[in-house]
């Protein structure tokens, strides 16, 4: 809670870009549309989509008893296909008990520690990605539904980070994904930077990765210090990105070049 309050103060002090134009709602589109026909086909067909291997792993973990409580996710939630439908489209969510925003992977770890009484799964570990992919899959095609009323301070904090210059190259997220979207950075078409596909399979990574891993890549490209996985700054950025993409359909597990 304190960390979050500090974050909000810190980012509101950060130098924001003078005139950052947000993308008009009607002009938003996923970077799926910029991909080659082959990569799109890979995302569209479950049998070809490598991300489905994580979803299958997630299904097995969902049924596996874990922790001192010796209970499986299915023990509390039953069939993921029905109980988890639409859940990922609402994350990050406001966790009233903790008084802060929490992302989907963080929520899964809360179930691990509080309900299964087992240790947290490490960020970017195969098991946490698999469970996140399974839950996200149940929102495939559903519109993002940001809980704007309760997430407002987090959305604002995320926007402040998005528009602030950082790193040795003195760039802001908004420079690439708002102001110069559609232009080419070297050979790559800069997308609008939407979070709609995560966790997703990146051909460059040769594996499935979270949104935080993607943001870490962007920060390293800007020669800025990446935040620690799970840091409130990432949750705030995700809250802003999901609000910015509100109404757009989720695509997880997506495929990206």
């Amino acid at each position: 809670m304190l960390r979050t309050a500090q974050l909000i103060v810190a980012v509101s002090l950060a130098v924001a870009l003078a005139a950052s134009e947000e993308i008009p709602l009607s002009e938003r589109h996923s970077s799926y549309q910029d991909m080659s026909a082959e990569t799109r086909a890979m995302q569209d067909h479950d049998a070809e989509n490598p991300g489905m291997l994580w979803v299958l792993d997630g299904e097995a973990l969902w049924q596996t008893k874990a922790g001192k409580a010796a209970i499986a996710c299915a023990g509390c939630h039953g069939d993921a296909e029905t109980s988890m439908k639409g859940v990922a489209a609402r994350y990050p969510a406001y966790d009233a008990r903790r008084g802060t925003a929490i992302d989907l992977a963080g929520r899964i770890n809360v179930c691990r520690t509080d309900h299964q009484q087992s240790p947290e799964l490490a960020r970017e570990s195969r098991d946490l990605l698999a469970l996140t992919a399974l839950v996200a899959r149940q929102s495939h095609g559903l519109p993002i539904d940001s809980d704007e009323a309760r997430l407002r301070p987090f959305i604002d904090a995320g926007r402040a980070i998005f528009t602030a210059r950082q790193g040795q190259l003195d760039l802001a997220c908004a420079h690439c994904h708002d102001a110069n979207r559609g232009k080419k950075l070297a050979g790559i078409t800069l997308s609008q930077g939407h979070p709609t596909g995560y966790p997703l399979y990146r051909l460059e990574w040769q594996t499935l990765g979270s949104l935080q891993r993607r943001l870490r890549n962007c920060l390293i490209g800007m020669r800025a210090e990446p935040y620690a996985y799970g840091a409130p700054e990432y949750i705030a950025l995700e809250a802003y990105l999901m609000w910015r993409a509100r109404g757009m359909p989720l695509e997880s597990p997506a495929v990206r070049p």
Partner: protein
């Protein structure tokens, strides 16, 4: 209502503002002092002339100069060039050596909203990665090599 410092032209205004901004950047630890005159840094940062061939290699290298991430230019061997910034062909005709030097050293002095990174400034930056903290993107020698190359891009 006469003010002795009132700038008579936009160029004069820029010159005043640049002169006022100079000490902060010039005094930064580890960086060499340089003098901004108008919209240019007329003198070499090192006192020596840069090497054109090395400059070309720096500009074309995506991990050193990074220039082609945003710019395009006469680099037929490099298929992946950027469209975020003006083509570098002809910059040597458009700008003098000193003007090119200031644009590479710290383009934000001319356009505060620019996305062109400051290649020879270490102050006023936020959350710089620890491995490069306190270091400019290019060294003074590399800046001079790049400037020597840009001067040759005439048309």
């Amino acid at each position: 209502m006469s003010c002795p410092f009132r700038a008579t032209s936009a160029a004069g205004l820029t010159a005043l503002w640049l002169a006022a901004a100079l000490p902060a950047a010039g005094a930064e630890e580890g960086l060499r002092l340089f003098a901004v005159v108008g919209d240019a840094i007329p003198a070499s940062l090192t006192g020596a002339k840069g090497d054109t061939e090395r400059g070309r290699a720096i500009v074309a290298d995506r991990h050193v100069g990074l220039c082609l991430l945003c710019h395009s230019g006469p680099f037929p061997e490099e298929p992946l060039q950027g469209t975020l910034a003006p083509d570098l062909r002809g910059v040597g005709s458009r700008w003098s050596e000193g003007q090119l030097r200031l644009r590479v050293v710290d383009a934000a002095r001319l356009n505060p909203g620019t996305i062109m990174p400051p290649y020879y400034r270490t102050d006023g930056l936020n959350r710089v990665a620890p491995s490069v903290r306190g270091k400019p993107v290019l060294t003074a020698d590399e800046i001079e090599d790049v400037v020597a190359f840009l001067v040759t891009l005439r048309e």
